[in-house]
Amino acid sequence: MSDAPRAPSAIPPSPPPAGQGGRKRSSGLRLRVLDRVTFGASASGALLMVLLLGLIVAVIAIGALPAIKSQGLAFLWGSRWSIRDQEFGAWPYLYSTLVTSVVALVLAVPVSVGSALFLVKLAPQARLSLPARLLGCSTATGWIRLRIAPIIAVASFLIELLAAIPSIAYGLWGIAVLVPAMQNFIQPALASTLGNVPLIGFLFARPTIGFTLFTASVVLAIMIIPIVTAIVRDVLAAAPPELEQGALGLGATWWQSQKLVLGYSKLGIFGGVVLGFARAMGETMAITMLIGLSIPSSNSLFAQGQTIASLLANQFGNADTNVERQALLYTALILLVITLLINGFARALLLKVSTQKARKQ
């Protein structure tokens, strides 16, 4: 009798029909278990990523612990590296790392921003009428507009493809082409011109070898241009078109309107530049092949050098003693902490910029 109110029409789904009840319930159970398992597995995958980051920091820090204890913070500015006296200082390596990365940025950033501006703002309007614009014709009359793939797509594709060339290829190219060119033409030319400029002259002294900090910086610049260009391109493309249109409507020239766009996107561009910097600091193989692998002997950019990454590549595999290995792990820890901080900062900046934009829209 108590079954009467539970007629199928009253409460539709809860009691399954008698015939298929068992099977349905068990498959429902199986599905629910599968749901849980899927969630559990994917969440633990995500958790594992976080653990991996912790792992790399922990493993390198623990390995470096004896060196941290014996050398202390003086490791950062000490400049003697003597295995016999067990005295280690990372400053020459830190110096080379910073100098090559900064010079690479100085060379790469203007080119990257220019390329990105071209890709985002000039190329789309410029199928074949670009020459006309450059010559000052405001309209593209007289120029045939062919329906080719927009330049931006092709050029972006090429630049991104080139970002995929392995670092060791740049190293091999550098040894064959760049090093002789640096030694015989570029460095002497720079030394005889910029070398005589008062304040910065010392940077360009004594060009005698091709394997120098400067050579490494140039290759680094070539390697980070595609990366910075891609980020700046995305940032510029995300800027609201009203800025530019408003300025143009008020009679501004193209460049005046772009200055507004650049100002609006400056945080994002900064983020991209900082990412390029972090990338440059960690770059290993090309640098190892080109920098000369010895402690810089002068302040000049035309001296040999040894970055932290190249020191590790060169020494870590054949460190004879535990003490040396621990000191090398200490330098690795420094590089890790710097790149993690810089990367975290830049990514957070870019994330913030993109979420802000999303909220505004």
Partner: protein
């Protein structure tokens, strides 16, 4: 009042206007030059590598083992070693990457924690590769007491995880909402929706992400320098210890480490061989990348 010399204004206007127009054109030209010279420079590098590679590549590269400088040698073992190592690394890295990608796209809400996870994955993707090598060396080589292919695989797997995770997330998010709604509306559970609707729909994109990760690690040298090192021995051998038919528990040959060794050897014969090997490596990497771009383009256009 009307005697204000209009001409001064207009002349001033003209000067500023002309300056502005000149700057405008100069900056435009510089931007174009920057883009064009970047592309030309990068292509001249690429062209040089290909040209050197083509003039030094030979069949013996694929059929012989490394030899002393006065004999004709090859990189048969290194090429095989790179492929084996990529397979091992993929086996370690891809599952983790896939799972966390699924988590981020399907389960993660817009919370601080999940922004944090995304940030961690991005940061993980940009850890310098040499430090990944140091990690693998400390974690695998030191406890084992010798170099091994496993250590290299751990390093490569570590580098693949974040790349696979982010591309998987992006590709899953591209799957149209209507598909999910249809599946849930028909009574599909979360698992069924995921396994039978979303993953198949995103499969091309996910495979693309995996190929991207493979392309990225295939050219890596730094993580292998002190994990697998380099070896002149063949990869596959009869004398290898039982469960494996490969020499995984000693130094292991890889294309990149081998090229590095030859390129910095100073021996002209070896440097020429390095160019040949480089062509093999670059064509591998670029073909993978090309395939990736084409697939992504297709996937985007279909939607």
């Amino acid at each position: 009042m009307t005697t204000l010399p209009l001409s001064t204004f207009s002349r001033q206007e003209n000067f500023h206007g002309r300056l502005a127009r000149f700057t405008n054109r100069a900056v435009m030209t510089l931007c174009c030059l920057a883009a064009i010279s970047t592309i030309l420079l990068l292509f001249s590098i690429f062209g040089y590598i290909v040209w050197q590679g083509l003039s030094n590549i030979h069949w013996s590269l694929f059929t012989r083992l490394p030899a002393p400088t006065d004999e004709v040698g090859g990189m048969r073992n290194s090429i095989a070693g790179t492929l084996v190592l990529i397979a091992l690394g993929s086996a370690l890295g891809i599952p983790v990457g896939l799972l966390s990608g699924i988590y981020l796209a399907e389960y993660a809400r817009e919370s601080l924690l999940n922004h944090g996870i995304r940030l961690v994955i991005d940061v993980l993707a940009s850890v310098p590769s040499i430090l990944v090598g140091v990690l693998a060396s400390q974690l695998v080589v030191v406890p084992m007491g010798h170099n091994s292919a496993w250590a290299g695989a751990v390093a490569l797997g570590f580098m693949m995880c974040p790349i696979v995770a982010r591309t998987t997330e992006e590709m899953l998010k591209l799957v149209p909402r209507s598909l999910r709604e249809a599946s849930i509306g028909l009574g599909g559970s979360k698992f069924q929706t995921l396994a039978k609707v979303i993953l198949p729909a995103a499969s091309a994109g996910i495979i693309t992400g995996i190929m991207l990760a493979v392309a990225r690690v295939a050219g890596e040298t730094a993580p292998l320098l002190f994990t697998t090192m380099d070896s002149d021995q063949p990869v596959f051998s009869h004398s290898a210890s039982f469960p494996y038919f490969m020499e995984v528990n000693s130094t292991f040959p890889t294309l990149t480490a081998h090229i590095f060794k030859y390129a910095t050897s100073g021996e002209p014969a070896w440097i020429n061989e390095a160019w040949g090997g480089m062509l093999v490596l670059i064509s591998m990497v670029l073909l993978l990348n090309l395939a990736v771009r084409v697939t992504i383009h297709r996937a985007r256009r279909i939607r």
